[in-house]
Amino acid sequence: MTSEEIKEYTQRIIQSNRTEIIVVLFDIYNKYIDESHKALKDGNNDEYKNSCHNASRVILHLKNDLDFRYPQSRNLYALYDYCDRCISKSIYSRDDKYLEDTLKVMSDLRESFVQLAQSDSSEPLMKNAEKITFGLTYDRNDVTGIQENYDSRRGFLV
């Protein structure tokens, strides 16, 4: 990921509520799969493995977030496990077609979480993070960002 992309995802995570953060995880997953395709095309095996590792770590997070007291977790777990095995296969066989199989699965799941997030009005998980609003205040081509609750000390006072 570039620094810009890291900032973008950081921003999204900080501002997410509990469901939105899951959508961000899916987006991060897609990003790493993209990077692995590119690395394989460039013939860079180390970079390819690294990107696959990163994608695998996202799956690990999603798996570990599951609460097995609720029945949906079982199917989700089975799908994540399948994706994990595909990633492993794609590393040792150096063939990214197995990664394509995971993208189909993950995009279906992402769809559902996007819709769940739209109807989840709970607060962002990170308290005291500033709220950022963008608007076309003065010009159609000039987007201004306004920060509310901005405190450079973030509540810490020595």
């Binding site: 990921m1 900080i14 949906q72 977790s73 199917n75 189909k104 279906d108 500033e130």
Partner: protein
């Protein structure tokens, strides 16, 4: 467009994240189920998985661990299937190279392909992993400790303990010295010119060649014959690269003049190597304290410096013994080791421990031996040398058998784990149905579509089932 960077929040988050690095390391080990820690580690609690709810039901976790174990074994088996194909291809190539109609160039091309396959096997060995955990590079192999040996392999039935043996005499290479014990000297005359062979490899010595030129031709021919010769200027000695009584050096001269030039007495001389002489130290359970080790029925077989100890019940221990003694002119050892006591300590660490029950003692060990070209002696394969193709086929047959043995052991473990998953799911009353294992992309597509709608239909519980990520841990997923 102004992009706002909440640097202070990011900095604060980074500080928070640092304290959680160690938590993350523990989280990754424990939550993947691939435990190296003692089974007393408590898997429950918020620290483990970034979950916001504190309770992880013991049985749910155990079922997941067993399922992860099956995935590990399946992944390793898939990779080993590819390794088997490569070994079989290497064997085909060796058979092809054994055909004496092949020119040196053709055999060179075959050896090149063999070399590429060997490198690919090593790549698969280091790259095969599940959840970022390496599987085939020895990470999940039983750890064996000791000096003066390497390339160790122990079968599943070798129990932890110290196994001892004494190497009374090491394996020796076949070697032939000339009767005169002199170095090559003088220009080759017409009467001395002719052809000779070392292990079937022809060398032409022509009239007018200097001793240096003869030495060079001899050295090149010896190399092709899998032999080495003594240094120029030293008494002539031709030794096989291989150890043990199966190694041999055969020198044949085309005429007596050539024989005399080299200082030999016979037109044909054949010498053989010697096998090692080993005494196993066997157990004695009657003494106090009892001495553990090899049973009285264990036997050792040697192939050069490669020793294999076998016993009943599938007990097999194989390793490559050190044998590299260098002596000076008076016969005093300057460096290396070849004889003496060997203590082989087989530990009980290395294999993957899966917590498959709610209690401490309910765990299962899954072991995957190291697979590499070195462990399978593929580095010895050179089909361009005399005798190379035959040796290659012998090594490859052993390697193919070894991989097959490992796969069948893993298959047995997989069966045990799968039945564990089923029985755990039956006893857990909150589970309505067993976790399915998706085996192919069609099944995955069906399940994904079904789950998509199911998740939306039961929105509230779907959120509770999945939306348990903590931002601090999510941020750790971001890296360059």
């Amino acid at each position: 467009m102004k992009i706002n960077n909440n640097i202070s929040a990011v900095v604060t988050n980074k500080q928070l994240l640092r304290t959680e690095d160690s938590l993350t390391a523990a989280m990754q080990r424990l939550s993947s189920g691939l435990k190296i820690n003692h089974s007393k580690d408590d898997p429950s609690g918020m620290a483990i998985s970034g979950k916001m709810h504190t309770q992880i039901k013991g049985l749910g976790r155990a079922s997941q661990n067993a399922n992860d174990g099956v995935s590990v074994i399946q992944t390793a088996d898939g990779a080993l299937s590819e390794v088997t194909s490569m070994l079989q291809r290497m064997r085909e190539l060796s058979v092809q190279a054994a055909n004496e109609l092949n020119s040196p160039d053709e055999r060179g091309a075959v050896q090149k392909e063999i070399g590429s396959l060997r490198n690919e096997i090593d790549r698969v060995s280091s790259d095969t992993e599940f959840n970022t955990k390496s599987l085939l590079d020895g990470s999940l192999d039983t750890r064996v400790y000791g000096e003066h040996f390497s390339r160790t392999y122990v079968s599943e039935s070798v129990t932890p303990g110290t196994y001892k043996m004494t190497i009374n005499s090491a394996a020796e290479q076949a070697s032939t010295s000339n009767a005169t014990a002199t170095a090559l000297t003088g220009t080759v005359t017409a009467a001395q010119a002719g052809a000779m062979k070392i292990n079937g490899v022809g060398i032409k010595i022509t009239e007018g060649m200097s001793a240096s030129e003869v030495y060079e031709s001899l050295r090149k021919g010896a190399e092709e014959a899998s032999c080495q010769i003594s240094n120029e200027g030293d008494p002539l000695k031709i030794s096989s690269n291989y150890y043990g009584k199966s190694s041999s050096v055969e020198v044949v001269f085309g005429n007596e003049g050539l024989r005399d030039y080299f200082g030999f007495t016979d037109l044909k001389t054949t010498s053989y190597g010697k096998d090692a002489d080993i005494t196993l130290k066997t157990e004695d359970l009657t003494t106090n304290p009892p001495v553990f080790g090899f049973s009285k029925q264990a036997t050792v077989n040697t192939d050069g410096n490669r020793y294999t100890v076998t016993d009943t019940n599938g007990f097999e221990m194989e390793f490559l013994a050190q044998n590299d003694v260098v002596k000076d002119g008076t016969g005093t050892v300057i460096s290396g080791w070849s004889t003496g006591d060997l203590d082989i300590e087989v530990s009980d660490i290395g294999p993957m421990v899966l917590q498959i029950g709610a209690n401490e003692s309910q765990n299962m060990k899954v072991r995957i031996p190291s697979i590499s070209s070195e462990n399978m002696y593929l580095d010895e394969i050179d089909v361009t040398k005399a005798g190379g193709p035959d040796r290659a086929m012998a090594n490859l047959d052993k390697a193919i058998a070894r991989v097959s043995e490992i796969r069948s052991g893993m298959g047995a473990n997989q069966n045990r784990l799968e039945s564990t998953v089923m029985s755990l799911d039956e006893t857990d009353e909150n589970m309505n149905s067993a976790v399915s294992r998706i085996e192919d992309s069609d099944m995955a597509a069906e399940m994904a579509e079904y789950t998509r709608y199911n998740v939306l239909q039961q929105a509230a519980t779907s959120v509770l089932s999945q939306a348990n990520e903590i931002p601090q841990t999510a941020l750790q997923l971001l890296q360059k």
